[in-house]
Each structure stands twice: as C-alpha cells, then as structure tokens.
C-alpha cells in the first residue's frame, strides 16, 4: 500500500461569465494538472519501453491500479491496446511490455488465494 506524501497538483481556471444572474458562461477554459506523480511505474525490465509506448495515450495510473495479473492476462491487455485501440506498438515492443507488467505487476497466485479467503468469510 502506498503511504502518503504531499501531492502538489496545481491547476488554473479562467472563466469569463456573461453579466446577469443565471446567465451562462460565454466562454469556459480550464487547465488540467500534470499526470499524478504518485502513479509512477515500479522499476522493472523494459520499463523504458512502457514509458515510450504507453504514455502517449494515457497516464501511468491506468496501469498501476490494475489487479496484479499473470503474463497471459497482461498479454491480453497489451494486445487489446494494439488491436482494438490501434496503439502503434511493434510485436517486439509488445513482448517487452508484457515482460515488464508480468514482473512488476505480476500475480504469484497469492491474490487469488486472498480472494478465496474473502469469499469464504461471511
């Protein structure tokens, strides 16, 4: 479990509101904060490939919050990124990414057992 630290996420907002009670905003403009610094990838083999191939489309927290999974399940997800979402990732890079995910966010079978215990207790 990750412990706390100060997350310095900043934003700015500019709103130009038309005069009058209940009048709608004539224009709205927002600035989004940077990617969550607490969503950093764990160290692992080929993590640089993950950074260069995955972050173009989404922040790392899309990865790090997923359930710990074995290589077969991670392969399914990576192939979905390529085949379904059209991520431009070579087969070699895909294998490197799967190796990373199965190592850094792998499932040793412990998770399944904890789940079974959770189900049995009523």
């Amino acid at each position: 479990m990750m412990k706390c630290c100060v997350a310095g996420l900043t934003f700015s907002l500019s709103l130009m509101v038309a005069v009058g009670v209940g009048a709608p905003a004539a224009e709205k403009s927002i600035k989004l904060p940077e990617d969550n610094p607490l969503g950093q990838l764990k160290p692992g083999p080929n993590v640089d490939v993950v950074r260069s191939r995955c972050l173009a489309c989404h922040s790392t927290d899309y990865i790090v919050l997923q359930p710990a999974s074995d290589a077969k399940k991670w392969e399914g997800e990576v192939q979905k990124m390529i085949k379904v979402y059209g991520a431009p990732i070579s087969e070699a890079d895909a294998q490197a990414i799967v190796e990373y995910l199965a190592t850094a966010y792998g499932d040793n079978g412990e998770k399944d057992q904890k789940s079974k215990t959770g189900k049995a207790e009523k």
């Binding site: 479990m1 990750m2 412990k3 706390c4 630290c5 100060v6 997350a7 310095g8 996420l9 900043t10 934003f11 700015s12 907002l13 209940g22 709608p24 905003a25 004539a26 224009e27 709205k28 403009s29 927002i30 600035k31 989004l32 904060p33 940077e34 990617d35 969550n36 607490l38 969503g39 173009a56 489309c57 989404h58 922040s59 927290d61 899309y62 919050l65 997923q66 359930p67 999974s69 399940k73 997800e77 379904v84 979402y85 059209g86 991520a87 431009p88 998770k111 399944d112 904890k114 789940s115 215990t117 959770g118 189900k119 049995a120 207790e121």
Partner: protein, 398 residues
Amino acid sequence: MLALGVIPLLDAGGPWLPGSRGGGSHSAEADDAMAGRPLVRYPEKTDLILLTSRPPQLETPKPYFDRAITPNEAFFVRYHLIPIPTRVDLATWRLRVGGVVDKPLALSMGDLETGFERVSVVAVNQCSGNGRSRFVPRVFGGQWGDGAMGNAEWTGVRLRDLLHAAGMRPGALEVTFKGLDEPAAPSIPDFVKSLTVSRILDDPDILVAYEMNGQPLPMLNGFPARLVVPGWYSTYWVKNLTEITALDHAFDGFWMKTAYRIPDNSCGCVEPGGKPAHTVPINRMNVKSVIASPADGTQVRAGDATVLKGVAFDGGYGITEVLVSSDGAAWQSARLGRDLGRYSFREWSYELKVKQPGALRVMVRAVNRVGESQPAEPLWNPSGYLRNVVDHIDLQVM
C-alpha cells in the same frame, strides 16, 4: 489552511479512504483498492478521489451520498479519450443535428435556450463500472471504488424536440452522439454512442442538457451541453456534445458494438471467471443503495442510537422501500426522504440502537416499484459492470 492547489494525501482514517482492518473481510479488500488514492482538486471541482489523471477519472467521496443532490463541484468525472476539451467559446460552438433529416441544424446555445421548451429532470448518472475494484475475481478496467455516480437536476431541451425540428425522416433507425473529445490517433475509435429512434421518441425525459443543478455544466461534466438519458448508465450521457446524427441503419461503432456490453440474461451475469454466450449493449440501471454514514469501521457505544444515512435508486421504476439488517435475516424499513422523481437518488435514514458490544455488520438494500432488489452475493461479469450487491458497513460497538 491549505495552500491553493496543494492537497495533502489524507492518512487512512478519513471517511473516504477506509483504514486497513485485517484479513479476509470485505473491508480489507475494499481498502486494498482504495489505499493510497489521493484527493485532488481539478478545475471547477472540490477534493475528489483520483482514479486516473489522463484522461481524467475522479470519484466522489462517500459522505456526499447522504443527500439526494450531488453538488456540481463534487460530481464524478470520467473521460475515455485524450485530448479532452478544455476550452469552449459559445460564440463559435454549435450543436449540429443532421443525417437522415430534412433540415440539418447548427444550433448555438442561444438557439437551444430560446428556440425550444425548457425542461428539467432529476436523474442519477452512474458509470457502468462503478464498484469494479470490488469484483472477485478482479477484472481489468477503471478500478472505481463506489464514487462513480451522482444525482443532479438536469435542464435543457428534449432530444425528440430537436430531432423533430430537424425534420428527422421516417426511415431513421438510430441516432448517434459525438462530443468534443477526440482520439489521440486515427486508429483509436472515437467515442460515439447511439440510441434507437424508438427509444428516443418514446421518452420525453431524454434531454440535451445545458444546466446542472441550475448552473452551466462544469467543463469536466460536459460544458456546454451533454446528453442526459435518465435511468440508463452514463456511457450514453455523451459530454461536450457537438454532433447528433440520425442514421437509417444500425450503428456498429466500437463503443456500442464491442465495448459496454453485458451478458444477455436477466442478471447480466456469468459464473465468476466465465464468459457470456451472447451480449447486449448495457442499458437500464439496476437497483442500488449505499450507506454514506457513518463510515465503515466507526466506533459506537452500546445503548446509543446511531443514525445511518444514504441514498437508493434504480433505473426509473422508482424506489418503494429501503431495508436495513444486522443479521441478513430480519430486515427493518428505513425512513425514506422526499421523492424527487423516479430517476433520482432517494434519501433514506435509519436509527440503529445497538445493545451488544462487539463487531456489528449492518446491511442495506432497496426495493423498486416492480419488486426488484439487490443480491446478497455479488454478481460477476467479465467487464466489471452492474455491481449492486447489498452494501454494508462494519461498526465497532463499545
């Protein structure tokens, strides 16, 4: 006093980040999913629980669900694609209504406000995957806790009035909805959803809404206008709308044909780890209720009265009962709050008097007008949708 923009990560013990409670219980599994999730403050928003930064997904802390209306600044956020819209100028924004119509329209906000009847509906907006992190076995996808939902009064124009004004032709079968968010590459399927024409024409409550709780929509909840489909999961509630297109054929875009599909049976479920034989697009919400307060793990004194509070809702039949139990066998009726309409959160409260010291699990479930309720055991599907198992909290009675 917090410096603007700097949010301390609250330690376990806050009501929205439940502390770890030790092995095997539901609370411990819930804790694993929520532990370490920071509170963040995005534009036009108060502190919300961060799920993902880019595209942003933010969820509402549980204490907000002790009342029917979710304030705009606390309403959850969910986008599929980057870039998301961050600037809209109403002088140039237009809502285009076209396709199989006689008179294609390009409507400004002024046109929407003055050219059509202004109507309102109070309706729950809930993500299909709300509660996904609780699935056992776990599934991939947005690892939501329980906060991907909210209830607001939506104001705007009837979708069917817009289509009528555009002269939608009798041959039209379906209507698609597209917003200002765009895929980062052409190979990524654009976020476009569809509804059948018959669904639209039968339902005066499907709106193009330009107000939320009496205010312009926050950018992150769909400024300047979004689709509102009361009773259905929020995947249909396309934000930052820009195009409405009538088709004379069935729409087969990715986000209808492949994504957001549920097992084609009455429970929308399969055996844990299984695969459905047939699927249909997700649609009407099932019955659901939550305990917003007290927080899981709260200590109470034996002999004291503890007031439980929360909300209940369904897909539009309306809630008729909310029931509370501490043993799963005997259920007592909770008091229901004001009825804001069949699509709205319904507040409930219950005064619990606990006599025996020790651990106490309190459960809640709701019943709707057609007798549907909630399962005692969670139902499973491979996408992590439709979670509506009976909610509970664990109290420590001293």
